[in-house]
Amino acid sequence: MDFEVSEFQTDLADGIRRLCEGTFPLEAIRRTESTPHVVDRDGWRRLGEAGVFHLCLAEEAGGVGLGLAEAALVFEALGRALVPGPLVASHLAAGLIDGADDGSVVVGLVERPRTGAVGTGVLPVVVEHLADLDVLLVLSDQGIERLDPAALDATALPRPMDPLTPVWSLTTLPAGEPVAGPDVATWWRRDGAVLTAALQVGMAQWACDLAVEYAKGRVQFGRPIGGFQAVKHLCADMVVRAEVARCAVQAAAVTVDQPDVGDAEVAAAGAKLLADEAAVTNGRSCIQVHGGMGFTWEVPAHLAYKRARVLATQFGSDDALAEFLADALVSD
């Protein structure tokens, strides 16, 4: 047993971090705020070249043949750079949708509501990144269907909650072409939860880093505010929260790769639950540490908080994940 991140894994994640610094600097990302297009096609292809989408695809299928453990580290690095776009969906779709693996095709994903026809329920179907998508996949217990995003009757929603996640509402979600069965849907849910959780951990760390940097530089009462315990302890709690969630995410990813060590679906649900919470809470704390400036659009603290809320709705809401874990407690 050795649960340390290996040198190879560290190098892999560092490579993605450097790629993000060069290709997705925050100033560049922020220029697309509140526009329908936030996916930079060149950048997306560069992510493809770096293996972000085909990392877990078998070598004979043109992939790198690595495990979800490596992918989780890569996605944490992507989260830490706040890279926008349907990263997890495009990763899952590699091998199923031509062009997803090398980043030439951008794939989105939406869950088909379980309750039946859209319009008879209370809540609409909301799709992210529709204008940037080449393919929209629909996930349900029956499997995965493929839809042409351009053919959908969709309404762009003004003022998206996260300025880097543009959203559309659908009045109908038509049946698509079936491209995979229920088995694939099951592992997509599990791996999707782990990778989304990895993005959340990255953002939780980003929020912590930003808060700490500000707390060191901002002087009030003649001292940097990070010297005051009230602020220092907020920051300490942020790093602890991120680290606990990180361990949960990495353990879940390893459990997917090494199924004999535990129940991967349970581990994935627990990881997603804690990572959602870490990202949301750290996002909120980051704003708080910034005081009034944290409430301004200009300071990027709100970006992590808002994105964390977006990702928390994907691959299982927190309540659904907690219920799933409760079921696991009584089936043991």
Partner: protein, 404 residues
């Protein structure tokens, strides 16, 4: 990252499991919690069994007489003992986890030969005299005074939170040998025989009703200079060296106990019907996620310790997160007991519904309150994380010669 155990690690686990299965049924009945001589006899008998089977000092280096196991084997050892409900380390805690490792690292050959074997065999019991009524979080301000007189130190002062003092043979004692204001530069580490004249023990009663702690009053107690471990005034460093023996496994038994308590709580919720409430189920699910994550963090810390020898900052992260989770778990189980939780005693439910596990739950809830206080309060831990890990400005420190 690999969560699979090697063949050698698996073999260690299997052998241990077989030994536990063969040994545990033969143990005498557990003494009552307040029967300290009985508890000493029970705990030291268990230590002797471990010793005879080659499991004493599993985490001690071979040169100290220990088994010299890897940090991973230490993790397996603690995991298997907890799963088999083997006795807790009990009164042997200070000897095995603090005093022994200190003597191994800093003691003279004579001190090692004299003091280590009896700890491993369960013959001698140790307690800890570090904290004082006026030196808690700020331990370096301690004032128990040791004055040199020939071949002895004459020690006067007061210690607190001295676990198992009533049944201990020796105390690892921090004393001030430097100037009054020398802080961490004027402390020495002594081995105090507990039967020395001038040692007065007064039990402390905790809010959990337990009596493991005591106050120690020292009135001109003579301690041979030969009982000093390390140089005079170098006791602070000696103490810090001991801490480096910790390999991230300190809370393994505790954590597994918490996982079991959650299972007990879920069983209770199903019996009472509370499990039909989504809020109850979600709280349980959330606690499961937290406990599983803490188990993963433990494996991370132990893996790091296996490579570097120390668990690094992960131990602090663990303690901060675990103590909060344990509070939540205590509150959760107490809320499910409703009014059956008004006594720390298992009681019969309505209509022959069977015993409700109020004893363990209420006791655990109360004991859990100490977790954010003992071994460094959560506030001190957050200062450490903020300053040493995040690099935030330090709290004001008392300079030598400056009274606070």
């Amino acid at each position: 990252m690999d969560l699979r155990y090697s063949d050698a690690e698996q073999a260690f686990r299997n052998d241990l499991r077989a030994w536990l299965e063969a040994t545990l049924p033969g143990l005498p009945p557990k003494p009552s919690p307040d029967d300290w001589p009985g508890r000493r006899a029970y705990d030291t008998h268990w230590q002797r069994l471990l010793f005879d089977a080659g499991y004493a000092g599993v985490d001690w280096p071979v040169e100290g007489g220990g088994r010299g196991s890897s940090a991973i084997e230490e993790l397996i050892f603690k995991e298997e003992l907890e799963r088999a409900h083997a006795p807790y380390v009990g009164v042997n805690f200070v000897g095995l986890l603090h005093a022994g490792p200190t003597v191994i690292a800093e003691g003279t050959p004579e001190q090692r030969a004299r003091f280590l074997p009896p700890i491993l065999r369960g013959d001698e019991v140790w307690c800890q005299g570090f904290s004082e009524p006026n030196a808690g979080s700020d331990l370096a301000s301690m004032r128990t005074r040791a004055v040199r007189d020939g071949d002895d130190y004459v020690v006067s002062g007061q210690k607190i939170w001295t676990s198992h003092a009533e049944v201990a043979d020796y105390c690892e004692l921090l004393v001030r040998t430097g100037d009054e204001d020398s802080r961490h530069r004027g402390i020495s580490w002594l081995i105090l025989p507990m039967d020395s004249p001038g040692v007065d023990i007064r039990p402390l009663h905790t809010i959990a009703g337990s009596t493991e702690f005591a106050e120690l009053f020292l009135d001109e107690v003579r301690v041979p200079v030969a009982n000093r471990v390390g140089d005079e005034n170098d006791g602070w460093r000696v103490t810090m060296v001991t801490l480096s023996f910790e390999r991230g496994t300190a809370f393994v038994g505790d954590l597994l106990e918490a996982i079991e308590l959650l299972a007990t709580t879920v069983t209770l919720a199903r019996r009472t019907g509370a499990w039909a409430d989504p809020g109850v189920r979600r709280q349980a699910g959330h606690l499961k996620a937290e406990l599983d994550a803490l188990w993963a963090l433990t494996k991370r810390n132990v893996s790091q310790a296996a490579r570097t020898g120390i668990p690094g900052v992960g131990g602090t992260y663990f303690k901060l997160a675990y103590s909060e989770t344990r509070h939540k778990l205590g509150e959760f189980s107490l809320s499910l007991l409703e009014r059956a939780g008004l006594a720390a005693h298992d009681i019969e439910g309505l209509d022959g519904g069977g015993l409700l596990p109020a004893g363990v739950m209420v006791e655990d809830w109360l004991r859990g309150i100490s977790l954010t206080i003992a071994a460094g309060t959560s506030q001190i831990q957050r200062n450490i994380v903020g300053e040493r890990i995040l690099g935030l400005p330090k709290e004001p420190q008392a300079a030598p010669g400056q009274k606070r």
